[in-house]
Symmetry: C2
Subunit: 878 residues, 2 copies
Amino acid sequence: MANTKKYVYLFSEGNGSMRELLGGKGANLAEMTNLGMPVPQGFTVSTEACTRYYDDGRAIAPDIQEEILSYLTKLEEITGKKLGDTSNPLLVSVRSGARASMPGMMDTILNLGINDEVAEVMAEKTKNPRFVYDAYRRFIQMFSDVVMELPRDKFEELLSVMKDDRGVKLDSELGAGDLKELVGQFKAYYKERMGTDFPSDPKVQLMESVKAVFRSWDNPRANVYRRMNDIPYSWGTAVNVQSMVFGNMGDDSGTGVAFTRDPATGERKLYGEFLMNAQGEDVVAGIRTPQTIDQLKETNPEVYEQFADIANRLENHYRDMQDMEFTIEHGKLYMLQTRNGKRTAQAALKIAVALVNEGMCTKEEALLKIEPKQLDALLHPRFDGKALKAAKPVASGLPASPGAACGAVYFTAEAAKEHSVDGPVLLVRAETSPEDIEGMSVSQGILTARGGRTSHAAVVARGMGTCCVAGCSALHIDEKAGTLTVAGNVVREGDFMSIDGVTGNVYIGKIPTVEAEVAGEFATVMEWADEVRDLTVRANADNPKDAATALKFGAQGIGLCRTEHMFFDPERIPAVREMIVSQTEEQRRKALSKLLPMQRGDFEGIFKAMLGKPVTIRLLDPPLHEFLPTEDEDIRALAEDMGLTFESLRHTVHELHEVNPMMGLRGCRLPICYPEIGEMQTQAIIEAAINVMKESGQEVVPEIMVPLVSSGAEIRYLRKLITTTADSVISKSGVNLRYKVGTMIELPRAAVSADRIAQEAEFFSFGTNDLTQMSYGLSRDDSGKFLPTYLDRKIYESDPFEKFDILGTGRLVEYAAKLGRSTRPDIHLGVCGEHGGDPSSIEFFHQAGLDYVSCSPFRVPIARLAAAHAAIKYPRKK
Amino acid sequence: MANTKKYVYLFSEGNGSMRELLGGKGANLAEMTNLGMPVPQGFTVSTEACTRYYDDGRAIAPDIQEEILSYLTKLEEITGKKLGDTSNPLLVSVRSGARASMPGMMDTILNLGINDEVAEVMAEKTKNPRFVYDAYRRFIQMFSDVVMELPRDKFEELLSVMKDDRGVKLDSELGAGDLKELVGQFKAYYKERMGTDFPSDPKVQLMESVKAVFRSWDNPRANVYRRMNDIPYSWGTAVNVQSMVFGNMGDDSGTGVAFTRDPATGERKLYGEFLMNAQGEDVVAGIRTPQTIDQLKETNPEVYEQFADIANRLENHYRDMQDMEFTIEHGKLYMLQTRNGKRTAQAALKIAVALVNEGMCTKEEALLKIEPKQLDALLHPRFDGKALKAAKPVASGLPASPGAACGAVYFTAEAAKEHSVDGPVLLVRAETSPEDIEGMSVSQGILTARGGRTSHAAVVARGMGTCCVAGCSALHIDEKAGTLTVAGNVVREGDFMSIDGVTGNVYIGKIPTVEAEVAGEFATVMEWADEVRDLTVRANADNPKDAATALKFGAQGIGLCRTEHMFFDPERIPAVREMIVSQTEEQRRKALSKLLPMQRGDFEGIFKAMLGKPVTIRLLDPPLHEFLPTEDEDIRALAEDMGLTFESLRHTVHELHEVNPMMGLRGCRLPICYPEIGEMQTQAIIEAAINVMKESGQEVVPEIMVPLVSSGAEIRYLRKLITTTADSVISKSGVNLRYKVGTMIELPRAAVSADRIAQEAEFFSFGTNDLTQMSYGLSRDDSGKFLPTYLDRKIYESDPFEKFDILGTGRLVEYAAKLGRSTRPDIHLGVCGEHGGDPSSIEFFHQAGLDYVSCSPFRVPIARLAAAHAAIKYPRKK
């Protein structure tokens, strides 16, 4: 049968725009070839071949094998050499190359095509048998390791034994004979383990290597990397087969890597290192100390000039900082790779601004060169670089919330709070619970022994922008004794520890931290982002401190102020519990009257902090169990307060127990069943707004948001309750206060009934956390047990609580936006789930036509940049 | 301002088709007027006036008041009498009349327009002061009661005192003077309680009465009735103002009610009763024994003939059995009302068949005259009528599952099972749990002290078709002592009790029951229904017994066989628990191998029972907590079985605890995480099908259904697992077995991703219970606490778990059907939630274009008829 689809491309057939098909490496090799640069020629097996490999049950179909061999023939014609030939043998390298750079995959096999006969011919031709047998033994080692998955150690061991035997220390001290003998040993070991001879047929070597690259696309490291970086599994990888050039042909040969700008600082200068008489892996191995690229200028000015010229041309061509690999063979320069270089966040900002100033690209193009997530590193305290180098971690956990923290450790929220007035504290617990919220908020950092990236500690810490390391199972906390044991060290309460929320490392002792700076290029880039984005960016903040942080990072308002977070304060929780267990409206009103002044004070603080900017306050929305007393002593204390018997209160608490609290008496169901709760909260919000308006003379516009609405009737009922209460307070005050009433859209039924809900709601805020939960029927509290299996088996591409589920839940958002606007064309639409700070989710929200996203204060700059990216990539029709 | 909208209609302006505007009573009075029948004239205030009354904050707007008064003038012109006139006074009745008959509302005020002056004039004109003052005191009583909500008792008490005082026993023995005195006492009491004089202005009396009718639309009784009968709150009621005729004018006057056919049996003959010299309320009050309508033929043949002629004309006109009210005033017949008569289920069937045989209507029209829900009464055992009359209930609970049962009481499922071999048993428990399932299945009836209509006992009993009375709080069960106390009686285990699942009544002792009969007219009607319906009707059945019942009632297959119900068997539960707590695949496979033969046996039984008809078997779908051992002794026993320590197993059980089990590790998540579970179930299903095919030689087509699917990837993964396992079993067997793989659509995300899911699923079955839960974010286990408030405050019109939520969740069903068919045009679509047996929900499923519904076996005939109704009302484009 005729093979109609093309799976293989010569470098000269491709170009830089063919990344999807040829992978980044292949496309760039093709582009450099087109630019007339000195590239050892070769061909690329496309990503579509990889997809077919998986579709065909992990096999390379015969038609593709044939095509590969026919391109090998073309390559042999170009180079004038032949693979496995005994007169003029061709050696090739085989490298993986996906659309995006993927460190988790198989990287490189060098010197492929060598066997006993070829080696002999080459030894004779090059008059350099040592070089040849060194290349041979390296090939066997690499092939066995990456293609056949034999343990690398064994080969290293045989090498060591040989050196000991010969009484030498360095590999380079071994002679050709020694290396030839080693080749024999390697092959013997291979046969012993594999049961077959080491493949001497170069075509077999080639096909097995291509297969191994395809296979490596699905290895666990690659899967983890992909999930972390939002790279779809469906992309597949390409394979590059390139004729070998040798940097280890003698002292006029060498190999190196270089960047067109400093990847750490962004400074404009050629930056890199190289080794003479070496192959690529020697640079990485670190046995010999490489020279800096500047030294090449001195030792080999001609090659340096040629390279510097190429580097300059590449940067101008790609209009971005380049990361290049090169080899010098007998004084001749070859380019082996170029790509846009990875860089630190600091460097990314500096380079972006510089490229615009140098006229290399537009602001929009420059913005797209900065990964929004990278900014995170600039928004939190970091350890002082020098001090960190001197420190040694004693354990590590999951990096759950970025930043660095150092403080005296305490094992209870109460102790942390008590000592926080004396200096920085670190809260260390087995796991945290809602009762710990105040202790968490006063701590520099939070360290837990149990729980994952979506545990209570992690979620709350990220919301607060507080550094957190979670699930550090090496910790053994003895709360009673006031001690913690880790890696054989005993730490007492009050002793100092330091944690790194970016790496997950845990240290004993103090490591000084430095505050985040927001200025210079960072400010410039944010300005550019603000110019182009369509989405407004608000922040989720529950208190004046968070509101101030949000403002500092450029939030345009508060999109979500959760009133229940204020309720966990230990001074308030008794009144909150009293409200919940009340059996009569009278009891409940008594409890509410205690809470009213506290709530009013909270809101005054937030309105003051955000003066002139909108603040959306959500009415109470807890699953009840979060507030209920569970310990007998708490029940006893509350019963005493309320003049009840212990038994009767315990009975009430038992009655309030819910089988599925997430779908129980919460959200708008509370003020519908107990209108006095909604009245109290409305009164507190409106009175606070009036007080702040009177005091400041400036307008305050509170937006009252009703959670967990499922139907038009619910919001109609509560809108009436809210406006009745609010209007009565306003008319008494004589102040002309405007306010809005809107809803969360966080239930699937709300999304599909949005036309009716919009009759009563002036704004919608998509609560994507709950919407995801209900849409999937997936409890966030419980999914941790099986979500890893789902990710491993690729049932889900990513955790839908981290990256918004565009394909499914996204449809509900789209329906709701459309239905809502059909009723109320000017309805204000936003998002206030955690997805509001996730760049790929923001891209979707922009496309869905929403008006704003709201995220935690520390993600505001990320959201601003991500919104700009979205607007550049998908311009809205205005 | 001009009043452009018409709110009031003379009887002569309306007709029978104007039910929506005039209510049933008003439309029929208009129709009878048009037919030239003797109807006392009047006018109807429309349902739209009622809606405006509520829109205007419970007030009758001035323009409507004016319109009412102008129609009053027209009525005065027609009758030649005037309201409140002292020469020729008009008296009127005021009656409510909604679109559907609504016993919960205010019914009637008679004799309105009377006051002291009018009474005097009338006494003179009629020469019958006794009649006049009797009418007067009745009016005060009715007006005070239904308009002013004064307690009725007090008036009755004054009447009693008067009779005692006069030394008489009957009202009729009181003279005109006594009654006049009573009028004075009534007015004095009215003033004492209300603080104002009794309104003597007839127009005030009229307007207050109209208001009272409107107000009664929203009283608690009316709301309960509406919810029970699916009548929307938005309809409103009309008010009929009609000139009075008097059946209490003397012995040539009278009043009565009659049916054109016997409402109990359906027999064709005039059926009814009347009282001479009486007003309507006397017939109802039952103080005097009414005469049968046949007696009227003897005493007043002319009036009888006239009435019989009218009755006949009305039945022919409406082509249905009529329920009529009439009054004879001085020998002249007046028709006060006609409507399609309420009838027993038995009568409904007989009348429907008769009407068709008599050529009165088509089969389709006849089908529409039978309320599907009514059939329920014919499908369960009933108490023997005579025996029931002699029995007296000792308590009552909620009628949770229809039927009647009589048996020896036992307080544990084990005891019930043990004694069920000796004779009929009744399981009596505080509440039931999944462990009781076997004891429930062997009992004639289930009686619980706690829980509502959606409690475990109620839901399971309805599913089984077993009679159940739930929440009978008067029961005090002492399980240890083996006694039960109710209303002062002590019942011991083994004693007999009887319960009525239709009324909720509970009896001590034996009441014999009679089995349901399914034949005659019932069979004829079902045949007609089957001819016209488009929806296929299947049944939910988990065992051969239920499957046989389903077949008997006409099920065309099994739409849902829940495999987990088989797992609760006490002999199996240890193996099930072992499977759940297994830490390794090996442990799990060991447990599964114990379950395999049991499951295979279950499926063989069902396939045999349903031979030739499709059977959909759902893979395991429990929230785990339903299976987990909770008691220490169960954990200890299981640990011993498995060779584990108690502590380690308790730890595992603790680890498996879920915060929201309904959204936890259940459904398809189980076989995705533990493929061996899915393999075992598939193997059991396929082997059972093969065995039955081999044995019977007939084809068996199992349909394997995957629950809780949220994405295409899940069903892709499981389809592969199922087909791999199934195909391997089939190929070994040599039998040519076909099977299908499909999914539940019970998560909102599944509904909106149905296009992708349909790529892998051959059928969808909407699990409307879970879909409702997830769509609303409403836990069925927990909603009982606040749902009543929601219904009271009209936030929800009905319980969405009973009546499918068409407006919200229905949209998800519509999306899913459309998306599913876009991928796979011939995909088979059905419903297997409890809504599959609810007539109004079935109407929606028909309109949404589904192929089938599946419901509990005892609802199959109801579903067949409801599906026929839907097809008649909303013909599908073929």
